[in-house]
Amino acid sequence: MRLKEIQRTAHPAWSPAPHHPICLALGTSAQQLDASFNTTAALEIFQVDFADPSLDMKLKGSLPTSNRLHSLVWVNFGAGEDGLGGRLIGGSDNGTVTVYSPEAIVTSGEEAIIGQSDKHTGPVRALDFNPFQSNLLASGANDSEIYIWDLNNFSNPMTPGTKSQPPEDISVVSWNRQVQHILASANPSGKAVVWDLRKNEPIIKISDHSNRMHCSGMLWHPEVATQLVLASEDDRMPVIQMWDLRFATSPLKVLENHTRGLLSIAWSQADPELLLSSAKDNRILCWNPNTGEVIYELPTTNQWCFDIQWCPRNPALLSAASFDGWISVYSVMGGSLEAQQQSRADQISSSFDTMDPFGTGQVLPPLQVPQATPQTTLVAPLKKPPKWVRRPVGASFAFGGKLITFESPKAPVQSPQPVPVPRQVFVSQVTTETELLQRSRELQAALQSGSLSDYCQAKIHKAPTDSEQDIWKFLLVNFEDEARVKFLRLLGFSKVDLERKISTCLGKNLQPNGHGVDANDLAEKIQLLSTQRSEESGDAVDSTKTPGSSSPSDFFSQIPPQPQDKEKISFQIPVSADADGLISQALLVGNFEGAVDLCLSDGRYAEAILLAISGGQELLQKTQQTYLDKQRNSISMLISSVVTQNWGDMVQSCDLDNWKEALAALLTYAHPKQFAHLCGKNTRMLRIVTKESVNPDLLLP
């Protein structure tokens, strides 16, 4: 597919591969004259811009030269990373080899000619630069002259060896693409000489003795060091011969398809299976040298193309210079010609009278040469995709952190039989947070096996901070028996310790409670306690609301009504060593007895009784007893009797003068069964006391 074209009779040279953007240098060619018989010469640099869909190239710089060129190369010598650099070397008609600086041409600044030499005696037709050492350049001219130039030291070239006899024109020189000190030269008689520059002499001479071939092109294989191709310009033998220097007596392969002599060949460095050739039968063919078949034919005009070159940077492009004065840039990737046909048609129709009914946007054949084959709009690409399109390696992510990778395994090149290469795709797991994964794995294992206490134990050991350690200790306890006791112990509330503390506080030697704490029991007690507490606070709330006449109520009613969540006001739980602290600690542990004792010893009878209610009936009675023992006022005896329901004692111990009251009490409270017995007791006592003043009427049955 033709991408760009320009009208010049010139030799093209592509900018070297590292150079960006891609440029094409054109040096006016010798031995050709265009229709205007113009004899001026110039070296021009064009930029090949693909963002622009038109066929034109932008001119970046131009330099008039004194001579016309036979050959032109662009070397990547002395170039920076970006920007124009390198050197343009032109071999001219009169034997001058000139070195230009493309940068200077573009900027039209300082002197563009860097070096010049007249060493050659005839037109310099062959130029090639060394792919390994960019400062070395080979040139070939008449009289079997081959010079090796060093761009650093341009005035003194070397020769690769003694001149081959008989002296002939050198049509092509070419450096080997694999071995840097091998150079080959070919002359029109069909002889090719391979020089070794280390030994400075020719090492092998190839010539096809059976036929005379006029060698117009010679190229080394880009990958195999010992193979090269020779193109023949002779119409009787329009072939490309492939030679392997290991058997240098006859060609390895002969590619025949052209009907007339070849003018130029170009081997793609990016894909060694693409070899272009242009011939006098107006065709440009693309071959696969390995199989020897034509894989592509470029659609071109009916003109001979004397120079074709692959673009080093963009491997799909090639330049073709033809004798009708056009230089075109083609792409082998195929594409549509529509846009370009339109512009071509526009150009043609615009140069004609618009009244011409044939010039209205139709595709017209160019008027100079009648076109035999109509141009198809669709340009077929190469049958097999070139190497630079085939992706060898890739990786893609998938769900779950998986990575799929594939690569192209390196197949051994020299194996005689094709070895079946395993084409594999690798599925990998990508983990970035490895520690996290490790921890989660451990946890999962622990959960599955159920050995959670071990897991917690392990965690305790590994815990970096104390607080974390505590957390893990708590978790550990959760999985053990008697969890709650241990929890308490962890919290710092040990029952045993506490009892000791209480006993020291009370000065008594208490027996430690033998039985363990029953969780349910404890829960009930706490519940009771909390309900009582809320009742108590509820009472307080109620009392605030009653518009009472009694003074406590008055006082309370003067307080503005408290918010309902009065009981939710946070309170502190004192855990100090004083009585308060000990009481609360005892309560936290569930040691009601201890708490009650502490309260009693502290004189807090109300609290003692409250707690004793929750502590069980026994505790309550004991507390009551203790309290009542402590209290010694007039009605305490009566109160104690009422509470403890112990009338026998009362009867016995109360004062005899109060026998009426005792009897009254008996009447009110005594159990019917006990009543009689207690009454009897009463009267007997009375009789003992008042033998004489007893009123027999009072004797009750």
């Binding site: 991408l3 960006h20 953007p21 693909f50 963002a51 622009d52 869909p53 970006d82 940077r313 963009n314 799909a316 792409s331 990737m333 195929g334 594409g335 549509s336 846009a339 669709l378 340009v379 690409p381 995709p385 399109v389 085939r390 992706r391 060898p392 390696v393 890739g394 990786a395 893609s396 992510f397 998938a398 769900f399 779950g400 952190g401 998986k402 990575l403 799929i404 990778t405 594939f406 690569e407 192209s408 395993p422 084409r423 594999q424 795709v425 690798f426 599925v427 990998s428 797991q429 990508v430 983990t431 970035t432 947070e433 490895t434 520690e435 996290l436």
Partner: protein, 320 residues
């Protein structure tokens, strides 16, 4: 850390060009120069060949799975200028649709996010990008962007349908306005962003940074953060990360991830969009992650699938 858990021997007869897992990670599709597309079942580390799809007449470059809510659908594109969409019905895979609207090799296919329906973008060497939409039972609409990239389009990738920033500021109840966008890279060294406006596709942005063919582009999946990120890799060995911070999506800044010594073929984002896999010449696959201060560091070098774990920690970057 990367460890190989499975090696699938695909028995392809020529170079493999793409391998993609489906949405759930149970099926693997591979395509090769031997013109076939193979589907394997890779659950639990096994490999069972489910289908060997033939239909292409040239090397198949890429495969793409559609979202499972549409069924089991796979698209493949090839050098023979065709895009074939395959569908699994009752356990057998068949050609659902064949698109031949391109003049040259179709290099890349990518399904759009499922909210947009069943829409496939195809990039071709003739420079055009086609959008193939399924508009109902066996009906397919084609929209073509001609001359998207002058000498060929190498890769296409869709933007996620998540509105940038939706994780942080919740749009109150209104239906988010989805704009279809995708990114493409071509042989003209450009990365271009495309937006659909009023049913027409327009070039939204042109990002220039590469000096050679852009081989692959990838739009990072989004989790709702207000930034959009695109990765592009090129023949010149450079990988650029483009980020856009403003919600209108107009200013993109490039950051060079790394300059490799060889051509970089492929970039792929992880499902959450924070790890980038870069595949380059000489069979090198490297994984890159962005650290908290915005620097990209290589966290692993997947060494030719041998499972070697050579973690290249950049300085003292601690992943925790």
């Amino acid at each position: 850390m990367v460890s190989v858990i499975n090696t699938v021997d695909t028995s392809h007869e020529d170079m493999i060009h793409d391998a993609q897992m489906d949405y759930y990670g149970t099926r693997l599709a591979t395509c090769s120069s031997d013109r076939s597309v193979k589907i394997f079942d890779v659950k639990n580390g096994g490999q069972i060949l489910v289908a060997d799809l033939r239909g292409h007449e040239g090397p198949v470059w890429q495969v793409a799975w559609a979202h499972p809510m549409y069924g089991n659908i796979l698209a493949s594109c090839s050098y023979d200028r065709k895009v074939i969409i395959w569908k699994e019905e009752n356990g057998t895979w068949d050609k659902m649709y064949e698109y031949t609207g391109h003049d040259s090799s179709v290099n890349s296919v990518c399904w759009g996010p499922y909210d947009f329906g069943l829409i496939l973008a195809c990039g071709s060497s003739d420079g055009a990008i086609s959008l193939v939409t399924c508009s109902g039972d066996q009906q397919w609409d084609i929209k073509k962007i001609s001359n998207a990239h002058t000498i060929g389009c190498n890769a296409v990738s869709w933007a996620p349908s998540v509105v940038p920033g939706s994780l942080i500021d919740q749009p109150s109840g209104q239906k988010p306005n989805f704009i279809k966008r995708f990114v493409s890279g071509g042989c003209d060294n450009l990365v271009k962003l495309w937006k659909e406006e009023d049913g027409q596709w327009k070039e939204d942005q042109k990002l220039e940074a590469h000096s050679d063919w852009v081989r692959d582009v990838g739009w990072a999946p989004s989790i709702g953060l207000p930034t959009s990120t695109i990765a592009s890799c090129s023949q010149d060995g450079r990988v650029f990360i483009w980020t856009c911070d403003d919600p209108s999506g107009n200013t993109w800044t490039a950051k060079l991830l790394h300059k490799f010594n060889d051509v970089v073929w492929h970039v792929s984002w992880s499902v959450t969009g924070n790890i980038l896999a870069v595949s380059g010449g000489d069979n090198k696959v490297t994984l890159w992650k962005e650290s908290a201060d915005g620097q990209w560091a290589c966290i692993s070098d997947v060494n030719k699938g041998q499972g070697a774990v050579s973690s290249i920690a950049d300085g003292a970057t601690n992943e925790q």
